[in-house]
Subunit: 131 residues, 6 copies
């Protein structure tokens, strides 16, 4: 189980509850997932992490689904099991279809493959790719 | 320099030239970047890798720009300098603006951060996220 | 379960028991954790790994708690679940408080984030940072 | 060179200059390193990243040198060359001696080794290490 | 459980069954492991991945056991639990003895250690090692 | 350049020279590569690392070339440029042909790809693969 345990809403301080409330309101959900309940042991990190994610994942030059797909891709590449599960669910909620998921996995696999071929062959950067 | 050197078009076998030609035709460019010139030492790998990439990066449920953004994201996460340079250039050609690049980097950074927070706090997967 | 199974003290060879005894004496504990019981299938690796750890983790220019915090940090960054669990327990035993743990996780997360921002923006090393 | 180039102080917007000023004041230096000059293309990320680092790296339950040593350790483990150079310099400024650096590297190497031994032997977490 | 579930032979399309049949014939086994049953949701990826593996893992300048040992080594280094379990089993089937496994793990651990020492000490490539 | 500089044979202490001599004798070479010259700033780590490598890389159940191929594979997977250059040279010296190198790279690329497909599809370990 989580190192420090999980802090449920009913047991949370007003400071933590305010973050929980904002997470639920922003995401239009009525529950808090374990990641935040664990971080709640460190209210400063809870607040900072949530506010950073809220800012970064908001619609901008990239739409929220694209950002979530990238999040899944990185989590898969890093073998972070919790993150894969939570962000795959999050991406589905934002509109990721099975077809998108499957293409995403193919790209992640391919990129990890060619990243190693490039390194192993000790390939130098083409002049055309420099600044 | 590349471990086995680079094979230029003029020195390439017909088998390798056929791949080079297809790369240039598919990408609408008139040159071949070093990655392929190095892989050309292994024609089977050259052909397989190019055909895989061509299949995977083609338009589908995800558009080509989204796929290229994911490719950049993985390359950055893996610290593959050649891949970062080449795929950043590739993404720009497919329409990545400066604003998109900057948001992409923010997501990649954030995902790498929370991937570690999840692991470090030993967080269990919520029932809601399970298949 | 462990690939080769676990070798309990009562079933261990004198060579393995000698390492087990030294681990328990050095760490002032009365049990052996699974890592060593698995490595015991390879007595040379068991002995070498234990002696390396004993040398490296001993007090020196860095105190044992600082070294253990670094060990936790690397294990978290690498998503090694066994190592996170065992070294978090080890760090607590050496004096890591909840407050230290939480700050440590924040640093690990942050470093993983900026490591990717540096790579993605293809930042060159400042002259001032060169040897 | 950096993907988007570097923004020097004289060319920076008031918003960016405010961050630059705070970095120099906080760190008691009279120059800005390339990391920040590159991030300055994205003022929101520049500001957020700096404020996060300032908060996270401040003295707390862990002293600033310990935090910086962890930052170096993660950067080394991730093979981030820019980060290794900049944070090694940063750690020296905060008091890291040659002896500390050498012990730190030994711990980072050892942790990366045993992280793989644990995974490869498929070792299960001991009951004693669970929550 | 697997994100999209597993496709059993009896429920598979003729296209998928053809791949399953080839896997069983090539490997001389009478069952299909979960990796392929999950990929079967994406028949193009199933077919491409199987054909790539079949080509790459076939006898060549390197024998099949050596290739499988490398596969185990990478999976261990990447902390991919499914891959460690499946490829360790695969390597045993191809002739990996306990003694080989133990030496392999020692090399993987050592390489991960010195990879970090090299990075941390910021060591430049010797002229003798260049091209 | 290397963080602490390089220690040449003529400037080395007797303790360091003894290691240098053993490296040259064991490897049948008449020079020392930068890795060891950098580690020489930490004689205990120099000695321990060399003795570990000497033990681990010696002929055993696996032959020295197979071990060196695994070392190259891990270094490539980890994007360690120094290690890729030095161990590729080392593997050639032990008999790695161009054909072997190319097949090795293909396996490393493939393993990195399927490691991510396994993680992304959240595939559970088959009963048949369990201990």
């Amino acid at each position: 189980m989580a190192t420090l345990g999980l802090i449920e809403y009913k047991d949370a301080s007003p400071e933590v509850r305010a973050v929980y409330d904002d997470i639920m309101a922003t995401r239009k959900v009525d529950w808090i997932n374990n990641f935040w309940k664990a971080l709640a042991h460190d209210p400063a990190t809870l607040k900072r992490t949530w506010e950073d994610i809220k800012q970064i994942m908001a619609p901008g030059a990239l739409d929220p689904l694209t950002k979530e797909l990238v999040y899944v891709a990185i989590s898969v590449s890093n073998q972070c099991n919790y993150c894969i599960a939570s962000h795959t669910a999050g991406a589905r909620k934002k509109g990721m279809t099975d077809a998108m998921f499957k293409e995403l996995m193919a790209v992640v696999g391919m990129a990890n493959e060619t990243n190693r071929l490039s390194a192993g062959y000790q390939i130098e950067i083409d002049e055309q790719f420099k600044g």
